[in-house]
């Protein structure tokens, strides 16, 4: 009898628990930005929020016990050649796209054919690939002309999502790769599917009940587009939204005091820094650049402009990545040193003028500009503050029509190459990444060396050398590494920040305890 009661009790609790979890597993996510397209191979930024979990990639990147680890995705296993020039993937069998098309090596080839044919920024992480071929029905191999150690993690980027060849049905003309259809639809294997997109209002993701992998608990994710963060905050506090993003530091600080809301923090891959145009007559002198670096009030900017939500950068590579070194040299405010350097450069007491520009993209940039203006006035450099709408700001960056500019960089994937390979490559002057128009043959060679070095310890040494040289040449002023602050109601469970997919919460692992 007692055994029956025990069994009954266990069953009762299980059923009750299941009922609790099964009710209302609909997550309302508030976003201040709206995608312009659902085409995962044309997506940057906020588009990934919607499309990432509608697709899978050959491999996935995830934090496992504090280390970023590459995990099987649509490929159940893979091989990287010893010289890091060939990447071979062995695909899972029995997986289907949502349109019923089977996953095989031909489908993967089609997806990469489309990605490279479009040639949009989503393919940027994979530009090391020189060719690829189907080996057999479930095996595909990619080759690089030069060894490229960071390559494997590039296959985990959202832009490397595998798209169904079934979209050929929607091509309006041959060779257009169904671009128009893909703007409003998805065609992946992922755990969610876009059920509705009402522009200006919301996108509804529903669980893919035929998903090949671990089934999400959430049945639905409703992404609501609320352009004003104050409104989003009120909706979160009222409980109409479960999670939200793009709040100001003040809003997050206020919401953190609300017992119904929790703020989960983690170091982000987003870094804020200043570009010093190395082609500008005064700034082409390294002593002037170092003087500027010594004049900046780093602590003040982080504390008073950014609300302390981050950490001063220690070197180019953010914390949490291979190559980051906590003991790396960092400039601190030292006016005597700054004045000494200016004198050595032939500008005793400063006596010249520079412009600093910012854009409305980040409201705090203007405040940073004002701090820099004051800081450089202390060493005799007159700074004119200029603000531009973002399109104008970007055009001026692209053409080098600036002296100093506010900037930020988000790695996309937690791979040091995404920083050093773009910031210092003299082939990437301008918006492509080297926004200070810095040129150093030594640095170019070091950047190429780290990309082909297969020994992690040796690679780390090269990365350290790169950072020392970068700090010595001072083409940039490194300000701070941002902190990811995800705001949500306390009933949201299972959230975990993944630096590999910084803009996308882990919807498949989240559930609601309401």
């Amino acid at each position: 009898m007692s055994r029956c009661m025990s069994i009954f009790s266990i069953l009762f609790v299980a059923i009750l628990a299941g009922a609790i979890v099964a009710t209302a597993q609909t997550l309302n996510f508030g976003s201040t930005g709206e995608p312009r397209t659902l085409d995962v191979q044309d997506a940057v930024g906020v588009e990934n929020l919607v499309t990432h979990y509608c697709y899978d990639r050959l491999v996935e990147a995830k934090m496992v016990e504090g280390t970023l680890t590459v995990l099987p995705g649509l490929a159940e296993r893979w091989e990287v050649s010893e010289d890091a020039r060939q990447f071979t993937f062995y695909l899972r069998r029995g997986v289907q796209f949502i349109d019923g098309h089977p996953l095989d090596a031909d489908a993967v080839k089609f997806s990469f054919d489309r990605l490279f044919a479009l040639g949009l920024p989503a393919s940027g992480h994979l530009d090391f690939i020189s060719n690829y071929e189907v080996v057999d029905e479930y095996t595909i191999a990619f080759r690089s002309d030069v060894p490229f150690v960071p390559g494997i993690i590039s296959f985990a980027a959202t832009g490397a999502s595998i798209v169904s060849p079934g979209i050929r049905t929607y091509e309006e003309e041959s060779g257009d790769w169904a671009r128009d259809w893909m703007t409003g639809n998805t065609a992946g294997t992922g755990p969610f599917v876009v059920a509705e997109w009402t522009r200006g209002m919301r996108t509804v993701l529903v669980r893919n009940d035929d998903y090949w992998g671990e089934m999400p608990v959430l049945e639905k994710v409703i992404i609501r587009y609320i352009p004003e963060s104050s409104t989003l905050r009120l909706m979160l506090e009222a409980g109409d939204i479960d999670m939200g993003e793009s709040f100001t530091a003040e809003e997050i600080g206020a919401m953190g005091k609300n017992p119904a809301i929790k703020v989960v923090t983690a170091p982000s891959n987003m870094v804020y820094y200043l570009y010093l145009n190395n082609k500008q007559p005064y700034l082409e002198d390294v002593r002037v650049r170092r003087a500027i670096s010594y004049a900046i009030d780093y602590e003040g900017i982080l504390e008073y402009v950014w609300g302390g939500n981050g950490s001063i950068m220690q070197g180019v590579i953010p914390a949490g990545m291979l190559g980051h070194c906590d003991s790396m040299f960092q400039y601190t405010r030292d006016l005597e040193e700054a004045r000494q350097l200016l004198e050595e450069a032939g500008y005793p007491g400063g006596g010249f003028s520079l412009r600093i520009q910012s854009a409305d993209l980040v409201p705090e940039w203007r405040q940073i500009s004002l701090v820099v203006q004051q800081n450089l006035a202390d060493i005799g450099i007159d700074v004119v503050v200029e603000d531009y709408p973002n399109p104008t700001h970007r055009e001026r960056l692209g053409t080098g029509n600036f002296d100093i500019s506010n900037g930020r960089w988000f790695g996309g994937s937690p791979e040091p190459h995404v920083y050093v390979g773009y910031w210092f490559d003299s082939d990437k002057h301008g918006l492509a990444g080297n926004r200070s128009f810095y040129t150093s043959p030594v640095m170019d060679e070091l950047v190429a060396m780290q990309a082909r070095e297969t020994d992690p310890a040796r690679r780390e040494q090269i990365l350290e050398t790169i950072q020392w040289l970068a700090l010595s040449d001072a083409p940039y002023v490194l300000l701070f590494q941002d902190e990811k602050r995800q705001v949500m109601r306390t009933w949201v469970q299972g959230y975990e920040y993944n630096p590999a997919y910084s803009l996308t919460p882990n919807f498949p692992e989240i559930w609601l305890d309401k």
Binding site: G119, L120, P121, G200, M201, L234, P391
Partner: protein
């Protein structure tokens, strides 16, 4: 000139007005510093990619060639394709315009009815507490920034009292699309749940939007009524023994309405063009929000399309107001 001839003449005059607006907007938007191709290409675009996008969208053509092509397409009814959304601009506008039309029409109706009523009462009860109260209401309306009022209303009626929803056009499924106006579509399709949901979502943004307009209407109505009430014909009407209500509403108000109509018409045109703050605060997916997104992204076809539509609307509203003058005051001839 008959009414029909007058309307026809106004419509014909619309053509050179629109041509001027489109031409001016085209050249101004294209000389603003910025590269649309760079924005589309994204943060890490290579020079080759930017050049390819420029060619794809015809942005590498001389300005006069782009203008010529645009005008040619316009004559065929083609407003072009949005660089950002890759959809026909007309398609985008038809998506966003109903939201703005519904919001602004409701706001103008509320503000006109309330404003005229309050203005008339204030004039009749001049220098009483009613008059003073209307003055306070008007001053608050013109002084307080609309976005601030909108936020205050959200805090009070949404967060604290929970009487109305916070943002968006509708909470659940929209009604089946007939016109794109959720209230009307709810009525036409008999979807009472959607109708109620849409109306409840309209209350706060309509109130915030109508308040500023109402303030101007109240003051104009009051001033106009006071002037008319001092006219001889009003005294004559009273001397004849007409009921006060007839004197006020059939004779006095009718004469006082001309300047009030002008204010209502101008306000409506302005609202249709962009109730940006309200749309942003209440996450209302309307034209203003679309227009700002197009401008900040240098989406030239979308910018041109929005400007063209606003110019047409503004002109049509003004025409309707002018025609209405004649209906109210038979002395006005076309």
């Amino acid at each position: 000139m008959s009414l029909i001839a007058y309307v026809a003449r106004r419509i014909i005059l619309l053509i050179p007005v629109l041509w001027g607006v489109v031409t001016l907007t085209f050249f101004v938007s294209h000389v603003i510093p910025g590269d649309a191709a760079q924005l589309i290409a994204g943060p890490r675009a290579t020079a080759e990619l930017i050049a390819r996008i420029r060619t794809e969208y015809g942005l590498d053509q001389p300005l006069y060639a782009q203008y010529y092509q645009y005008m040619l397409n316009l004559l065929r009814g083609d407003l072009g394709t949005s660089i950002l959304t890759r959809r026909p601009v007309l398609h985008d506008i038809l998506q966003y315009f109903p939201a703005t039309f519904e919001l602004t029409t409701a706001a103008i109706l509320v503000s006109a009815l309330t404003g005229v009523t309050l203005g008339v009462v204030a004039a009749i009860k001049k220098d009483t507490w009613v008059d003073h109260a209307s003055r306070v209401i008007s001053i608050v309306g013109v002084s307080m920034p609309m976005f601030w009022m909108a936020l205050l209303m959200m805090v009070l009626f949404y967060v604290k009292l929970g009487w109305f929803p916070g943002a968006g056009r509708i909470g659940g499924e929209p009604p089946l699309r007939v016109t794109g106006l959720y209230v009307l579509d709810g009525l036409l399709t008999g979807n009472w749940e959607a109708l109620g949901d849409a109306i409840s979502h309209l209350v706060l943004p309509v109130t915030a939007l109508s308040y500023a307009v109402l303030s101007r209407i109240v003051r104009m109505t009051r001033a106009s009524m006071l002037e008319v009430l001092n006219q001889d014909f009003v005294q004559t009407a009273r001397a004849k023994g007409l009921a006060e209500r007839t004197t006020l509403f059939k004779h006095a108000l009718r004469n006082a309405l001309i300047p009030v109509l002008t204010v209502i018409g101008l306000s409506y045109g302005m609202l249709l063009g962009g109730a940006l703050a309200t749309e942003i605060i209440f996450a209302w997916p309307g034209m203003a929000h679309y227009a700002v997104g197009s401008v900040t992204s240098l989406d030239y076809p979308a910018v041109m399309g929005v400007v063209l539509v606003i110019a047409v609307l503004y002109t049509v509203v003004n025409m309707i107001v002018d025609v209405t003058y004649g209906l109210i005051d038979p002395r006005i001839r076309y």
